[in-house]
Symmetry: C2
């Protein structure tokens, strides 16, 4: 019997990190891509706007790519599409709302006109090369999210997408457990499960969105003044809860901020946000209403400096000024790294006299990913032969692997791999088979990928101790120094208060150049010498190491 070719599974993003999710399935001459997400830059990625996956591997195999399937409309699953789709030019498959959000991204990136976008309903099978694909509903913090069933020549694969098991979701459907258990118990069963690990650290169950609804209800009933809710613009279900609760308490709702308004508009157009009683109003109308009839929804729950909430808290928002009597709800938890910005925003809101509810002190947010018991339940229903944790930092993947072991999957059938690892899987088992090029591509301004390690290293050095420019004039004929070198610094010392230091450094360079008189023409030697001695000179006197840039001008 001929040996069947192996299936390759290659994560290009999202495994060993949170964000820029992108997964490649490759079988013979067919490649299927799942999600094309972005990541927001980490602290040390100075000046970077966005981070997208490195797709070198795909560019070398463009002719094999049959399509992209998208699980849901969050930035970390669709955000890199405008940068990557034009390079691949393959069909994109997604559900209705997700595709609406993909379109917005493509339009912003001026990449919409050539795109082949195919809206797919759940429960329908469609071919993507040798693969057959079927979406199934999952509950997540955005409506129309799906998991993916992929029928491959070597067996059925289930990819959970981002999911949790909320049995009383607001407007998204509950995760389709019966379809999964049906798959798990029928015929060949499920060959491989790829499942969301984001909250694999947390014991128990993720609470239902109803918990948040109860808080909203209490606040809108009791607040004597305006209620201002800040949340993620993609959290359509949270917006729906606010509309529903406001209607109950006879308040009008006003959406403030561009991205929030845009997402709400699309969700409403496509039927994922409902406002039967016309509770939503135009911001201008808010002013003429009594305060206890007003609810604002806005972005800024992460303390983003240009967001509406932060500007309100700083008293420089054009329309809304926080005042005593307002109740502000930050309906989110800080993303790691944002705590400082969030805390500053909270403090400023308190200073304006507002009552402020946030995740430390109130039940104002539940997250969108399943906790340990939900992950175990999924494993129990799907009963996969092989298991691979996806979506999470390394410790999340490790925890998820332990959960899988605890429900009876043999350790050898569990694969913890990271971005760029190649997993080769055949009917009898799989193994890591090498590593391909993967990693971060930086978007900075208009350019994609030109900022690399060198530029970031320079920015890091400049950010710490600034820089010093040294202009050295030498006689064109003799190669001798003309006058003293000029020295200017930025971000290093206060030039006005450090005149002595700067003067001394000019003398120092002059002396060094004098001694180097034998090598007048060898600029690389001279500039290296100036850099080294000046660096030591400044370090000794200031314990700082500015970047030193010597220039020679021939006069």
């Amino acid at each position: 019997m001929a040996i069947k070719p192996k299936l390759k599974i290659i994560p290009l993003g999202g495994l060993g990190e949170v964000g820029k999710n992108m997964m490649v399935l490759e079988y013979e001459d067919d490649i299927l891509i799942i999600d094309v997400g972005l990541m927001f830059p980490e602290e040390e990625m100075l000046g970077i706007d966005l981070v997208i996956p490195d797709i070198s591997y795909l560019l070398e195999r463009k002719e094999k790519i049959r399509g992209i399937v998208i699980t849901h409309g969050h930035e970390d699953h669709i955000g890199a599409i405008p940068y990557i789709l034009p390079q691949l030019n393959v069909p994109v498959y997604a559900t209705k709302l997700t595709m609406g959000l993909v379109k917005v991204k493509l339009k912003e990136g001026k990449a919409l006109h050539d795109a082949k976008l195919k809206v797919m309903a759940t429960g329908v099978q469609f071919p993507v090369g040798k693969f057959r694909v079927e979406f199934f509903p999952v509950c997540h913090s955005i409506p129309d999210a799906v998991g993916i069933i992929i029928y491959t020549p070597i067996g059925t694969i289930v990819h959970s997408g981002d999911f949790k098991l909320d049995y009383t979701p607001v407007d998204s459907k509950p995760t389709d457990l019966s379809r999964l258990s049906q798959l798990g118990s029928s015929g060949q069963g499920v060959f491989l499960l790829l499942s969301d690990s984001t909250y694999a650290e947390l014991p128990g169950y993720t609470p239902s969105e109803q918990v948040v609804a109860e808080t909203f209800d209490r606040v809108m009933a009791e607040a004597k003044g305006r209620v201002i809710v800040a949340t993620f613009s993609s959290l359509v279900s949270r917006v729906q809860q606010i509309i529903d609760t406001a209607q109950k308490h006879d308040r009008k709702v006003f959406i403030v901020g561009r991205s929030m308004t845009e997402t709400a508009r699309i969700a409403m157009e496509l039927g994922y946000l409902h406002d039967p009683e016309h509770v939503l109003g135009k911001v201008d109308e808010a002013r003429s209403l009594p305060h206890n009839k007003v609810v604002y929804i806005t972005t800024g729950s992460q303390g983003e400096p240009t967001s509406a909430l932060v500007r309100m808290a700083n008293r420089d928002h054009p329309h809304v000024r926080i005042m005593k009597g307002d109740t502000v709800i930050l309906s989110s938890t800080p993303i790691p790294g944002n705590e400082g910005l969030v805390n500053r925003t909270l403090d400023n809101l308190f200073k304006q006299g507002a009552q402020v509810l946030y995740s430390t002190v109130s039940k104002v947010h539940v997250h969108g990913h399943g906790s340990q018991e939900e992950l175990k339940l999924l494993l129990n229903l799907v009963k996969p032969k092989f298991f691979m944790p996806v979506h999470g930092e390394y410790r999340h993947l490790t925890y998820h692997a332990k959960l899988a072991e605890s429900v009876g999957i043999p350790r050898d059938n569990i694969f913890v791999i990271e971005d760029g690892d190649v997993l080769e899987l055949g009917p009898q088992g799989g193994k890591k088979a090498g590593k391909i090029t993967s990693g971060n591509v930086y978007v900075d301004g208009l350019s994609v990928g030109d900022v690399g390690g060198l530029i970031l290293r320079d920015r890091r050095m400049l950010s710490r101790d600034g820089m010093v420019v040294v202009i050295i004039a030498v006689n064109r004929q003799t190669g001798k120094l003309v006058g003293k070198p000029d020295i200017v610094s930025r971000g290093f010392v206060d030039m006005r208060e450090s005149k002595d230091l700067i003067e001394a450094s000019r003398d120092h360079v002059a002396k060094v150049l004098d001694h180097a008189g034998n090598h007048p023409a060898e600029w690389s030697y001279v500039s290296g010498k100036v850099r080294d001695t000046l660096s030591d000179f400044f370090y000794e006197r200031t314990k700082r190491r500015p970047m030193i840039l010597p220039f020679m001008v021939k006069v």
Copy 2:
């Protein structure tokens, strides 16, 4: 009857922020200072090493200052002493261990020889100018911590220091509640309470250190290999718990890292750390022991890049390499802003195959500050006439004020003030009376205070988009441009891959200078023009705004 002079209370640090605690009490010609702390720089304070309080107000009144009293030996209460004490040269009062740590600070800062250091026991009254001062024991995450009773001409003040109410502390004494309740019920009672607000957001009680001891006990009993505990070097009681538990399970303890070793040495010398059975060993001995007999204690629980734990996790520690079978405990919670570093460290430990316990998943840390019920208990015992929350960001102070109101202190008798506010307090009441100079003084390398807003703004700009140096050679006689300008950039674009852009920018500058031919001598005009047009030129092509530095050289 003559009107009594008022008491002024002026926070110079720690109110409206967490860190650099420093408080001034002023009555007529006498000033008493409580604590002289530092703060670690926030993310946007690029290149800054430390932040200390601005003491302009004190320098203008040096002759009035009678002394400094210190509540405990944490950095945010003693860290600025080596910078500030030499400028004031007044006596410092503290308990034994605290003074030991103050001495280390002063020695490091070469400021020990002139210092007038007075070790004071708890329960003893001593005069500081017109004030009489008495320390009382409080339980905190470092031994020998105290609160302060200050007898002033207008009434008795109680300052809680940093405290919690652990009735089964490890080696520090429990907070002396009976002394406080005695003060609260006797004669005049307490005029003013200043109390720690750090955890005023948290409901309930802070758990006892015993919770952590139980985790240590379980881990050391069950671990088949080495146990490595990372915590704060100042957490002497945690070190004691580890020694005690290791002794019980017949393990030896090895301290790794300079600051941890130094603190343990002082604590042992002064009798605050006990090792009766000689469980502590020298690191070299560890290698010859079976793994299940070894415990390491180290720093790095905040993911500090140069700490021992991080180097172990990255496989570049000279002595200890993490391996399968090791159990690593991060006995702390991430300080806001450090989450990214901590998570990276966790992931690297998991990748080495270690079992890792941390605050998200295990009871490995309890914090050192009282939660809401403890704060209310203190208010109830002390029964102050006036109340002022101290130590915390604005929302913590606000929460603490609400707690005080809830236990019956009239709102008018509660003062929420921030750094630099002056509270004037007389027998009948108090009010905010203006604002004095206060704020952050930056320590950067050897210099204190020379880095200000301008340098930080430059560093910020340089960190985002780098910089471009433009060298313009002009004829000394005619003032005309000689050749094309030279352009060099760092941290902006890849100079090798952006040759066209740089060439085009040189032509652009040449053209601009040609048009500006009428103003050859007015360098400020020319340089401004070059800066503006080049900035626009680059922004249009890259959407980045590097710092642009034009230089003119006359040839």
